[in-house]
């Protein structure tokens, strides 16, 4: 099966970056068609740089990206006809109302007015924006503005959607509505490349995931693949003061508020859980979360910023 997006030894160094500072380094990825593909990584890891190159907004320094079989360096026009993007930190024009944002975007892409109206109506309904259809963007909350942008690209006729942190600022209910709209777009055989800081979101939506750190690919695969690649695929949380030294031989132990966390193998998890229960401790156990995997691979939480070339470029742009 041909990939929808394929990056080949992709490298990016921003023009004013210090020598040796790269935003992406030799990044090769295969993104299958008709699925949601999650890019995860800390701020400045290189996710946005990858999306911007694939969406033909930014030129690569080395290597290239093929989108729907076409090279971003030479076939921009035909790629652009088939993609849509919500950039990170983008906002809709504040003097338009919600309906106009979606409708005019579709007309701008060349859809005829009747089709644009129909798609606008459907998208607003799907994302529960119909009550706000005539509300000016300037009067909406940040979350509703972001949802309006999601409606805009999801209503488009694009085969590939690039969503750079689409749910930032949304409340949990709104996030789930966006998730459902993304899943539906994926069922329509559209390819969706998603970056997010919410690892539960990445896991819930993505058929495959790529973990990027310092511009390099660190892990890639289905959520199950990622779990299989970590040393300890199970976690046991024991409430109270369970003797730490009894756990050390089973895996990695860390103190958390109100208890102890053990990362271990499945069989050991069952054994430790049984022993703890016999001694009257409360426990919870299960497969490790994506957050645990991230911590294990990167050594830092996803919430910690990097000191990277992409971050430098962002600061340069906003200075």
């Amino acid at each position: 099966m041909m990939s929808a997006i394929s990056s080949v030894h992709l490298g990016k160094t921003y023009p004013k970056a210090r020598p040796g500072r790269f935003a992406l380094d030799d990044l090769s990825l295969e993104i299958p068609p008709g699925r949601v593909y999650g890019l995860i990584g800390r701020n400045g890891a290189g996710k946005t740089t990858f999306i911007r190159i694939a969406a033909t907004q930014l030129a690569p320094t080395k290597g290239t990206v093929y989108v729907l079989g076409e090279d971003v360096r030479t076939a921009e026009r035909s790629i652009r006809a088939r993609i849509a993007c919500i950039p990170q930190e983008s906002r809709p024009l504040y003097f338009l109302n919600v309906e106009e944002v979606v409708y005019l975007y579709l007309k701008l892409r060349g859809l005829d007015p009747r089709e644009s109206r129909r798609r606008t109506k459907d998208a607003l309904e799907e994302l529960s924006l119909t009550p706000y259809a005539r509300s000016l963007v300037s009067r909406l909350s940040g979350g509703l503005r972001r949802r309006t942008l999601c409606a805009m690209v999801l209503a488009s006729d694009a085969d590939v959607l690039f969503l750079d942190e689409p749910t930032t600022g949304l409340d949990p209910i709104a996030r789930r509505e966006v998730w459902e709209a993304i899943r539906r777009a994926s069922r329509e055989n559209r390819t969706i490349v998603l970056t997010t800081h919410y690892l539960d979101e990445a896991e819930a939506l993505s058929a495959r995931l790529a973990l990027i750190e310092s511009g390099r690919l660190r892990l890639e695969g289905t959520p199950a693949d990622l779990r299989a690649r970590v040393r300890y695929p199970y976690r046991v949380l024991i409430r109270g003061s369970y003797p730490r030294e009894e756990l050390a031989s089973y895996g990695t132990v860390s103190e958390i508020e109100g208890g102890t966390m053990l990362f271990t193998r499945e069989a050991d998890a069952h054994e430790v859980a049984r022993r703890a229960l016999e001694r009257g401790f409360y426990i919870s156990m299960g497969p490790v979360s994506l957050e645990d995997i991230f911590l294990d691979v990167v050594g830092k939480s996803i919430d910690q910023d990097t000191d990277s070339a992409e971050k430098e470029a962002e600061m340069e742009t906003s200075a």
Binding site: P15, R52, A55, T56, Q57, L58, A59, E76, R77, R80, A81, I83, A84, C85, I86, P87, Q88, E89, S90, R91, P92, L93, F95, L96, E100, L104, Y105, K107, L108, R109, G110, D112, L136, S156, A158, F162, E316, T317, S318, A319
Partner: protein, 248 residues
């Protein structure tokens, strides 16, 4: 994109950035009327009415230049603060379509000011077939080069604040220092040479000549048109080669 879809995109941009904002905030129009009309008022007071005719022809040129400075601010703001350029780049809309649509949308804001000047133009008895053709041609060229320059600069600015520096500078270079609001003969000899650097000197020369405010020989008219067209073409070429639609 088919030709029909390109036209649809251009009209959509006019609607999006021209018609709808005016409907939402009509004060935009008053703001854009203010600059050329205040110049006219100032000239009327200072010259005791003598140079009002120059104020009318100059106001028409300045209105077209104002379209460019407005476009520069809007494009920079949309690109940085709303990421609109990135959204449009990742779509079937090509850069010339985006610029054409946005440039036309800015023209919508200037229509009331233009209407005032057209009325004055007729009232002062300037309207002949020749003068109308010349004035229309000059205004189209001034609008075109101002917009090409605005687009190129907007793709380089790192913040909308930079437009606050460049817009008054461009206004000074294109509409105050060159003889847009007065005859070139009013300048000292050395300043007349310096004024020849600005394309608006040639635009004003053509308009002032067409309405009979200044003598304009056929050879001078040919030179003025040639320079104005060459400058416009040069700015389009620069926009095509240097403007950062896709970032390097």
């Amino acid at each position: 994109m088919s030709e029909r879809n390109r036209l649809r995109s251009i009209f959509t941009l006019v609607q999006l950035n021209g018609i709808i904002p005016i409907r939402t905030t009509p004060l935009y129009v008053v703001n854009l009327l203010a600059s050329p009309l205040s110049f006219l008022f100032f000239i009327y007071i200072v010259s005791h009415g003598t140079y009002v005719a120059y104020g009318i022809t100059g106001g028409m040129v300045l209105t077209m230049l104002t379209v460019g400075t407005g476009l520069q601010s809007d494009l920079t703001h949309y690109r940085h603060d709303l990421k609109l350029q990135d959204i449009v780049v990742a779509s079937p809309v090509e850069a010339p379509i985006y610029v054409a649509g946005m440039a036309l949308s800015e023209l919508v804001y200037s229509l009331p000011a233009l209407a005032v000047f057209v009325v004055l133009f007729f009232a002062w008895g300037f309207a002949t077939v020749t003068s109308l053709i010349v004035v229309a041609g000059v205004m189209v060229l001034v609008w075109a080069f101002a917009c090409a320059l605005a687009f190129t600069l907007a793709t380089y600015f790192k913040d909308v604040r930079e437009t606050f520096i460049f817009s008054p500078l461009l206004s000074l270079l294109f509409s105050v220092l060159p003889p847009v609001y007065y005859p070139i003969s009013a300048l000292p000899a050395w300043a007349q040479v310096a004024a020849r650097i600005s394309p608006t000197t040639y635009a004003a020369g053509l308009v002032q000549g067409a309405v009979g405010l200044q003598p304009l020989s056929l050879s001078a008219a040919v030179v003025d048109w040639s320079v104005l067209v060459a400058f416009t073409v040069a700015l389009f070429v620069i926009a095509g080669v240097k403007a950062r639609w896709k970032e390097p």
